[in-house]
């Protein structure tokens, strides 16, 4: 019995180099059941072109390192099935937008994470190791706000999807502001006033137009838009009280 010819995917992959900074190169990849976009990229690198640069680590949606632009949308490639995103048998895979490309599908994430630091993304303890554990009741309103926003894996999908980031290079972006919001609601943190000042203004939460592209694209189904709206309310209250 003759073996069935495997169905082929036509995959356009962004490759760096040349005068224009890069171009799409097309690869034919056998289509399989339950195949992810990361599987496709890995297959190309292992079987067709070992010079292809891309980034991944966990393959199970935890580490946040494999985000790319798939058919024009930022996605986590390890949890994106080809069947869900392919148009016919075509896929287009490019690096994330709004970040400088290092090579091929790898972007420089420094600006993204530097903005977490600028937004006061570090926890500032108020207790020492000699103190007892703080007891935080899970059903308090502040803790619920934290729970709703805490599962960010830092993949950069929201940052790449945000028009404000494209328009205003100083804008801290959805992920950094979402992180700041979780800390502003953390009763153990001791840096609330300084962080509030860091996230206010034209580079911070007030630049957000509530278009919610970040929320639509977040692979963890978080809502940075809600977190940013919370920061707007928090900063407005502080400004009215003269505390900002």
């Amino acid at each position: 019995m003759a073996m069935r010819e495997p169905e082929l995917l036509e995959v356009d992959v962004w490759r760096s180099g040349g005068d224009a900074g890069g171009q799409f190169r097309t690869y034919a990849v056998p289509r399989e059941d339950a195949q992810t976009v990361l599987d496709v990229v890995t297959w190309i690198q292992r079987k067709l072109d070992p010079t292809l640069a891309y980034r991944f680590a966990c393959r199970v949606g935890m580490c946040g390192s494999c985000a790319m632009t798939v058919n024009g949308r930022a996605r986590w490639t390890c949890r994106t099935h080809v069947a869900k995103v392919a148009r016919g048998n075509r896929l287009q895979i490019a690096p994330l937008a709004n970040l400088p490309v290092v090579r091929d599908l790898v972007v420089d994430m420094r600006a993204f994470f530097d903005k977490w630091a600028k937004a006061g993304g570090q926890f500032t303890p108020t207790a020492s190791r000699r103190d007892d554990f703080v007891r935080v009741a899970p059903d308090t309103p502040a803790r619920r706000e934290v729970d709703a926003a805490i599962e960010c894996i830092g993949c950069g999908v929201c940052y790449a999807s945000c028009d404000i980031v494209a328009w205003n290079p100083a804008y801290l972006g959805p992920a950094a502001l979402n992180r700041a919001w979780t800390l502003q609601n953390d009763v153990r943190d001791g840096d609330h006033p300084a962080r509030l000042a860091a996230v206010a203004g034209d580079a911070g939460c007030h630049a957000c137009h509530t278009q919610a592209a970040c929320t639509e694209r977040c692979p963890k189904q978080l809502s940075p838009t809600t977190s940013i709206a919370g920061l707007k309310r928090m900063t407005a209250r502080a400004a009215l009280k003269g505390e900002l």
Partner: protein, 112 residues
């Protein structure tokens, strides 16, 4: 501009938007009602001249526009034209002042 000033600008724009929502509704409703009797300068002036309520209403309307419009334009200019900084802020302050002056002059013309 400091984070505090930018937060205040944001608050001023939201507050002026709330005032404008009400003012625009009243303004449009009045126009529609007024047109029913035939829209003439004499009829408009007959309604507004010497009327302190209309004077106050349109003065508030003008103030809200003078606050709201330049803050919004400042944001658009910063995002689309990359025009930011002290020079830009000074320009938008002048635009706000000019809008207020022109508007108040028009209010005075129909009320006094």
């Amino acid at each position: 501009m400091s984070a505090r000033s930018e937060t205040r600008l944001w608050l001023a724009q939201r507050a002026s938007a709330a005032v404008l929502a009400l003012c625009v509704l009243v303004h449009l409703a009045t126009m529609i009602v007024a047109v029913k009797g035939g829209l003439t300068a004499a009829e408009i002036l007959g309604r507004t001249r010497g009327n302190p309520a209309w004077a106050a209403f349109y003065a508030v309307f003008v103030a809200a526009v003078a606050i709201h419009a330049p803050i919004g334009l400042r944001t658009i200019a910063s995002e689309w034209l990359q025009w930011r900084g002290r020079g830009a802020d000074a320009f938008w302050l002048v635009v706000g002042a000019a809008l207020f002056a022109i508007g108040i002059r028009a209010v005075a013309a129909v009320v006094l």
